[in-house]
């Protein structure tokens, strides 16, 4: 079919009309091959302007549309909608930014006119190489898989259970996670176990929530709205179970930093040196005390164990230390508790309250570095440097090590299954650390709780509810989802199967076809970022709306 | 009757003057020809629009850094020149361009072709080593002695078509003994004649068909028949073919520089030509061994099948072969046989259809029944 391009220049009031000789521009572009019409209009983005464009496209039987106006950021969408209304595929449209890139920055009318012609020629030449792309819609399954049944997992499940089926999978034999081991939760000092049990009752009574304990995720395929998950029970001969879900929540929780550092503190060698988790457990079991059974008279709480090695602050240990101080002071009145800290990280109002309470109860806080433990008689000698110079010593009966939070033990396995990358500290990487903190880079896979980094229980619940918010908003039963139209493609005959594109794809949208020995793009998953096209050395991968040809053509005209 | 423009200056100066005349009068907007690069003794094809840049042009430089016919076809692949352009092409380059136009790989509109009666070019491997003008001087002095220049490509030594076919303007070079003091341009077409208007020199008519000097022609014929006999011995028969191509490194450089091989992705580089497991099994069972990577010979045979009918014998393939395989000689031999079979001369004219695209009722009757 013969190409009939319509070129429309927006005067944008005096913005463009006052800086550019539009008539000369129109004359120059009208003579170009394929250009059927070239016209100007007062304000194309106005209601009348849009109506005018729709009529023009129909009247002239245009096959392509080029608009010279403001920044595409402002009105590309407006004009693509115009295309759609007029029956033209919206991707057969190109916008030239002649306001910001020419009119506003070129005082000389002569020059501005020349530049405008260039920009329009470039757009005209580019649009010739555009192909009509289709926005597809796909059916979705609203159900959700939650991996991990700790605080993060169960609170997310509870928020979602009212509207869809939720599967909570945990490799352990019961839900509840680590929060069950705490008597109280810092900084609010509410009764942790009560809360968790309350949540668990909620899970039990919700018919929509199915709990699968002793179960591992074995395989995940598919994409947002249509995941196919294979589960298998631990050590069972039984067949794998297949589930269809629309979204997946990674709520694997945390594991304490598996740290050789612990042994540097004499843990395991010196009696009465405990980790904070052990102390919490002993407290819940009512076995708080010395290993021989006696009551401790003095306790040292050592902060930041493993921080240097891990390279980050685990955020909650300071308040945990204060909580433990409170436990001890409550159970053993008159006990001397000393906190050996580096920096008190106690953001927010709640933490401050707890800190003040611990101080009121008599806890001593010493800023100390280079803390070392050794046995001396039946005491533990803590030696440390106060204010980076003076070495001091303090003998205590018992030591609690506040061990930092590390990524969950399963992180790597699940990361590989889901193609969600691990980043800093070995935690799951968010789609965007600031504005997309509970999404992963794979659409439809969300992160809640400590899987993406150390955090306390309130923050964990906040994340779970945030994930629920995202799923409730984005995966509505019965609603279809639109896929990206501007995706990548891989030319079969050129692909060598080197899978470099697979390595650089952030969305898990590329898979390797073993039989054919080539890589294939899943158009539903592809977000059109173009990483694959940039990485492919043979040019087999290309971006459909930014093909080398389109870009070269545009540049060729600009630099002419 | 052919119109002829006679000039009293050497051909190398005359052609540059002529081209300058074309540019300055606006008869053409640019000239496609060889041009010296900044690095010494390096020439490459260029599109020249500024008459001043013609000083760097060197149209009949005895080196062919690529078959210009192929290059011109790539430039005009998508659309033709919109303004007139003059292209200086050697006969084999012109013929390659014509073959490519037949295959929709180039567009001749708006191109005026200037060709020469060619004395041959130096192999690239030799010219890459040139450090002075000595070899070029030797080349021209051989011509003015009425001889075939020394050290030219094998394909040039046996060239059957040193006289261009269908060029608008033909510049006799080979065999012109006074080449450095006078020359003539044959204006074969109206277009050509029109271009020459206003050039200093004497316009006349000649009935005489242009020929290389007998000496050169007979020398080339002798070389050809010698080569043919030699090839009978060295190439004919499967064993010998295998031997000829045994040292092939599979670099496929011959295909890369061949003007006729216009495919973007050659069949023999495609996934279809990859080694298959069952082939390995069969070969091991049959012979106990298989050469890897495979398909060396198949590539050459396949290429022969695809393009021998259009081979213009330019010799680029032999020039780039790192294994010194006489590729062009083999292709000449096979090409000649196929071309004769269909009475086809590649590049003779755009109108002449490529034999495989037309069906003649009585063709190849010898292989039927």
């Amino acid at each position: 079919m013969k190409k009939r391009i319509g070129v429309y220049v927006c005067e944008c009031g005096p913005n463009i009309a006052g800086a550019v000789d539009i008539d000369r521009v129109l004359e120059a572009v009208l003579s170009l091959d394929g250009v059927a019409v070239a016209e100007k209009y007062g304000l194309l983005c106005s209601g009348d302007g849009k109506k005018y464009l729709v009529e023009q496209v129909r009247e002239h039987g245009l096959t392509h549309l080029v608009v010279g106006a403001c920044s595409p950021k402002q009105h590309e969408l407006t004009f693509m909608t115009v295309c759609e209304e007029s029956g033209l595929n919206p991707f057969l449209f190109q916008m030239a930014n002649i306001r910001e890139q020419v009119a506003w920055i070129t005082p000389d009318t002569e020059k501005a006119t020349e530049r405008t012609i260039r920009h329009l020629k470039a757009a005209i030449r580019r649009v010739l190489y555009h192909t009509a792309l289709e926005q597809k819609e796909i059916e979705t399954n609203p159900d959700v898989l939650v991996i991990g049944g700790g605080m993060a997992g169960i609170s997310a499940a509870l928020s979602l259970g009212s509207s869809r089926k939720v599967y909570v999978v945990d490799k352990r034999d019961a839900l509840g996670g680590k929060a069950l081991k705490y008597e109280k939760s810092s900084p609010g000092m509410a009764n942790s176990a009560d809360v968790v049990e309350n949540y668990l009752r909620g899970i039990e009574t919700d018919e929509n929530i199915e709990v699968l304990t002793n179960t591992n995720v074995e395989e995940v395929r598919g994409f947002f709205g249509n995941f196919l998950v294979k589960l298998r029970e631990n050590d069972a001969e039984s067949d794998a179970r297949e589930l269809r879900v629309g979204a997946i929540i990674v709520a694997l929780g945390m594991d304490p930093l598996d740290s050789e550092v612990l042994s540097e503190y004499g843990y395991g060698k010196i009696q009465n040196v405990y980790t904070s988790l052990e102390l919490e457990q002993a407290n819940v079991d009512g076995k708080l005390g010395m290993s021989g059974g006696g009551k401790p008279k003095s306790v040292g709480i050592v902060h930041c164990v493993g921080r240097k090695e891990a390279g980050y602050c685990s955020e909650i240990c300071c308040t945990v230390g204060m909580k433990i101080a409170c436990y001890l002071q409550e159970k053993f009145p008159g006990i001397a508790v000393t906190e050996f800290y580096q920096d008190l990280s106690i953001p927010g109002r709640g933490a401050q309250v707890l800190y003040e309470e611990a101080r009121r109860a008599g806890t001593e806080f010493i800023r100390a570095t280079n803390v070392q433990l050794s046995e001396s008689d039946d005491k533990i000698k803590i030696s440390y440097e106060r204010d980076h110079d003076k070495t001091e010593e303090k003998p205590v009966d018992m030591v609690v090590l506040l061990v930092g939070i590390g990524p969950p033990a399963d992180a790597e396995k699940i990361s590989n299954l889901l193609s969600v990358p691990l980043g800093k500290g070995g935690f799951f990487t968010e789609e965007h650390a600031k504005i997309s903190p509970v999404s992963s880079s794979i659409e439809g896979i969300y992160l809640a709780g400590c899987a993406s980094g150390p955090k306390g229980i309130p923050e964990t619940i906040s994340q779970s509810e945030a994930v629920a918010g995202k799923i409730l908003a984005g995966l509505v039963p019965g609603r279809k989802i639109e896929t990206e139209a501007k995706t990548s493609r891989i030319a079969e005959n050129l692909c060598m199967g080197c899978q470099t594109c697979l390595d650089v794809c952030c969305y898990g949208a590329i898979s390797y076809n073993e039989t054919r020995g080539i890589c294939v793009v899943n158009e539903v998953l592809c977000k059109g970022c173009g990483n694959c096209a940039a990485a492919c050395p043979s040019g087999a991968a290309s971006h459909q709306h930014f093909t080398s040809r389109q870009v070269y053509q545009e540049i060729a005209e600009i630099v002419k | 009757m052919t119109t002829i423009l006679k000039m009293n200056q050497g051909v190398r100066a005359a052609i540059k003057d002529f081209l300058r005349h074309l540019l300055e009068t606006g008869a053409v907007h640019a000239v496609f020809t060889l041009r010296k690069q900044d690095s010494p003794n390096v020439v490459s094809y260029s599109l020249i629009a500024d008459p001043e840049k013609l000083d760097e042009a060197t149209p009949f430089y005895p080196v062919m850094p690529g078959n210009a016919g192929g290059l011109l076809s790539r430039i005009t692949l998508n659309e033709s020149f919109k303004d007139p352009v003059a292209a200086v092409l050697r006969p084999c380059e012109l013929r390659a361009f014509v073959e490519l136009v037949k295959r929709q790989q180039g567009n001749p509109a708006n191109i005026v072709t200037i060709s020469s009666i060619c004395a041959g070019v130096s192999p690239l491997k030799a010219s890459a080593q040139w450090e002075s003008d000595q070899q070029v001087d030797e080349y021209w002095s051989a011509i003015s002695n009425g001889e075939l220049p020394p050290n030219i490509r094998d394909s040039c030594r046996i060239c059957e078509h040193p006289v261009p076919m269908g060029a608008d303007i033909v510049v006799p070079v080979a065999g012109e003994e006074e080449i450095d003091s006078k020359c003539s341009f044959l204006l074969n077409s109206e277009k050509g004649a029109k271009l020459a208007e206003g050039m200093p020199g004497e316009i006349g008519e000649t009935e005489q068909e242009v020929k290389e000097v007998e000496q050169i022609r007979s020398f080339r014929e002798k070389q050809r028949s010698e080569l043919a006999t030699e090839l009978e011995k060295t190439v004919a028969g499967l064993e010998r073919v295998i031997e000829t191509f045994a040292s092939c490194t599979s670099c496929h450089g011959c295909r890369a520089v061949c003007p006729i091989c216009y495919c973007q992705l050659c069949e023999f580089d495609s996934s279809r030509s990859e080694l298959k497991a069952q082939v390995v099994e069969t070969e091991l069972r049959k012979r106990g061994g298989i050469r890897i990577p495979p398909g060396t010979l198949a590539f050459h045979i396949g290429r022969l099948a695809h393009m021998a009918i259009s081979c213009v014998g330019c010799g680029m393939c032999s020039d780039v072969c790192p294994a010194e395989i006489p590729v062009s000689s083999v292709f000449w031999k096979v090409g000649k046989a196929v071309q004769e079979l269909f009475d086809y001369t590649p590049g003779r004219s755009v109108e002449e259809a490529i034999p495989i695209t037309v069906f003649e009722e009585d063709e190849l009757c010898e292989v039927e029944d």
Partner: protein, 366 residues
């Protein structure tokens, strides 16, 4: 000191290696062998399971008509279930390893036998003269062979992928060493009942290799400094590559350039005749194709990190551009940034395929 098995080689190293390989085939240690064979007019890699063909094995051919990695690639690109022993130079083995990272070779069942390499003669020189006069001492090695440090496994911790190495240097004409360099290598010797001990010859071999390596190292520095001078700045680069006729032979024979169709051959620019004309109008004159330099720079961007400095590219350049030396120089610099050694091991990931939090910090802005 490395352990080794002393292999008598009165009839030449090739025959000794052939004998060894024959035994391996007889004992069914391998299903097949890939080795260079003297056949017809040249040396070709052949996959064979017929022991008799091994008589034609040439352990160290004087030329490299095909980079061995290409042979391994063509054999294993779509997987390989045979247990195969591959006899090759270290640069060929390393290239095969690089290709495995790019999923072009499958090395699962491949057993690498490296051979001390004294370097190869450029193919054109060999075909012209050496074929008839193999002992012509006038003939120079490939420029990159002259400065190669990784020609032997002795004292070499930069190559860890060889299973068994054939040491020949410094041992005279009558013996060779089999040096097991992996568990699989040791296992093969054990199965054949061949002991491996720290014999005196291992010392001789290491010493000799060390001496040569030191010379090479020095020469390499000079050669690269020399080439660096030549290609410095745009002017230099343009000059070096200006003779290029875009035959792309360098790319076709490069073991690392695995693309079926090079980006530079795709014709993506789709420039029209008119574009050329316009450019000619602006510049006065334009070279017919995009600057060849763009092709070479693009190629280097794609493959220089994996360049094993084998020198194939330089061998096949019809206009004698020192392309191999330039790429090797660039490679040395780019590899340095990532502390990467192409073909060192299968596990070492390609720097570009791997994201390190702490890399290239000098170019980041905090």
């Amino acid at each position: 000191m490395k352990k080794g098995h002393l292999l008598p080689a009165q009839e030449g190293v090739s025959q000794a290696v052939a004998g060894f390989l024959k035994r391996c085939l007889e004992e069914k240690i391998f299903d097949a062998v890939v080795a260079p064979l003297d056949s017809h007019a040249g040396y070709n890699y052949v996959l064979l399971d017929d022991g008799e063909l091994l008589d034609k094995v040439v352990a160290m051919p004087p030329v490299m008509p095909v980079q061995g990695a290409k042979a391994v690639q063509s054999l294993t690109h779509h997987g390989n279930s045979k247990k195969i022993a591959v006899v090759m130079r270290l640069c060929e083995i390393r290239a095969a390893v690089e290709l495995s990272k790019l999923r072009q070779t499958d090395l699962e069942n491949v057993f690498f036998i490296g051979v001390d390499c004294s370097g190869v003669i450029p193919l054109p020189d060999y075909l012209e003269r050496a074929r008839d006069k193999p002992k012509d001492t006038e003939l120079m090695l490939r420029p990159l062979c002259q400065v190669c440090e990784d020609f032997s496994l002795a004292g070499n911790d930069r190559v860890t992928v060889v299973d068994l190495h054939v040491g020949t240097m410094g041992l005279g004409d009558s013996s060779a060493l089999l040096i097991p360099s992996s568990a699989a290598g040791e296992d093969v010797l054990r199965q054949l009942g061949m002991d491996s001990k720290p014999v005196e010859e291992v010392n001789q071999w290491s010493t000799k290799v060390g001496v040569i390596r030191n010379e090479r190292r020095k020469a390499r520095k000079e050669a690269l400094a020399d080439i660096k001078k030549k290609v410095s700045g745009l002017e230099g680069l343009l000059e070096v590559f200006s003779q290029c006729i875009e035959c792309h032979n360098c790319q076709s024979v490069c073991p690392i350039c695995y693309c079926r169709l090079c980006f530079a051959d795709k014709g993506t620019s789709a420039d029209t005749a008119d574009d050329y004309l316009q450019r000619a109008n602006v510049a006065g004159a334009v070279r017919h194709l995009p600057e060849p330099l763009l092709f070479h720079l693009g190629r280097m961007a794609h493959m220089s990190l994996s360049c094993v400095s084998c020198g194939m590219c330089e061998d096949v350049c019809p206009v004698s551009i020192p392309v191999g030396r330039v790429v090797s120089l660039v490679s040395e610099e780019t590899r340095g940034i990532f502390d990467y050694m192409p073909g060192r091991s299968v596990e070492e990931e390609l720097p570009l395929a791997r994201f390190e939090l702490e890399e290239l910090t000098e170019v980041e802005d905090v």
